[in-house]
């Protein structure tokens, strides 16, 4: 199957609501940091953008715009203690099994099997879609997030947009 053309679909959807076309960031090049450790020595963290929050905290706004909220996800908390609030995608399956979108149980198993060094002390949920003030992401929210990863000794980040 051909990949879905999300740029066209999203512009059609939000255009019908009266929004101007969303101008996606378009980058001709990408930054690069070499992997310096083998996976069995790496501390791995994950970041997901799908409105996932712990059931004891405030849910994400499912229709959020410019929401710079980023929650820490405790990898030791059972994966069925999370809730999902995001109108941007179909999370029917992820509601039943978080691992469909954020595979925290699977990553823990790989750590226990020695395929990675360790699961980071925190995973992350935030940076939801419909962010129009991207300069604030690049200048503030994302650097603050990177600081947290460095504080946790993270060697590799798996980013999961939804």
């Amino acid at each position: 199957m051909e990949p879905i053309r999300y740029v066209d679909a999203l512009n059609e959807k939000y255009g019908a609501m009266g929004f101007p076309p969303y101008k996606w960031s378009e980058n001709p090049t990408a930054p690069w940091t070499h992997m310096t450790k083998p996976l069995p020595e790496c501390t791995v963290a994950m970041l997901v953008s799908g409105g996932i929050s712990h059931c004891a905290t405030m849910p994400f706004d499912p229709d959020a715009r410019n929401d710079h909220r980023v929650d820490a996800i405790d990898p030791s908390v059972p994966s069925d203690e999370y809730q999902i609030h995001d109108s941007y995608y179909d999370h029917t399956d992820a509601d039943l099994d978080l691992n469909c979108l954020l595979p925290i149980d699977r990553l823990r198993e790989l750590a226990e099997a020695g395929e990675i060094g360790a699961v980071a002390k925190r995973h992350w949920s935030g940076f939801m879609g419909r962010t129009y003030n991207r300069s604030r992401v690049i200048g503030e929210s994302a650097p603050a997030f990177a600081d947290a990863l460095h504080a946790d000794g993270v060697d590799l980040l798996i980013a999961i947009p939804a």
Binding site: S49, N99, L101, R106, E115
Partner: protein
Amino acid sequence: MGLVARVVEETGIPTVTVSTGRDITALVRPPRSLFVNFPMGNTFGRVGDTARQTEILRAALDFAVTAEEPGVLVDLPLEWDEPFVYFAGEATPEAIARQLKK
């Protein structure tokens, strides 16, 4: 999300992005992208399919090691087992009014 991966990479931590939106990822160009042609929200597969979830997670980890070219985008050779379409979300008048208020 791709922008965040780029910023994190610039600070010295390697990133791998596992995406279900190929066209968006190709534009934003995170450092390393693995495209999974599954419905958005099912990046790692179906409910309870632990083998597939692990397979895709392991592919992402291995790709972090083997990728060599900044901005590389690789298609994971997996097919969803039924056709799927763009998820337009709630389209009730109330939902649209709620979104327009943002």
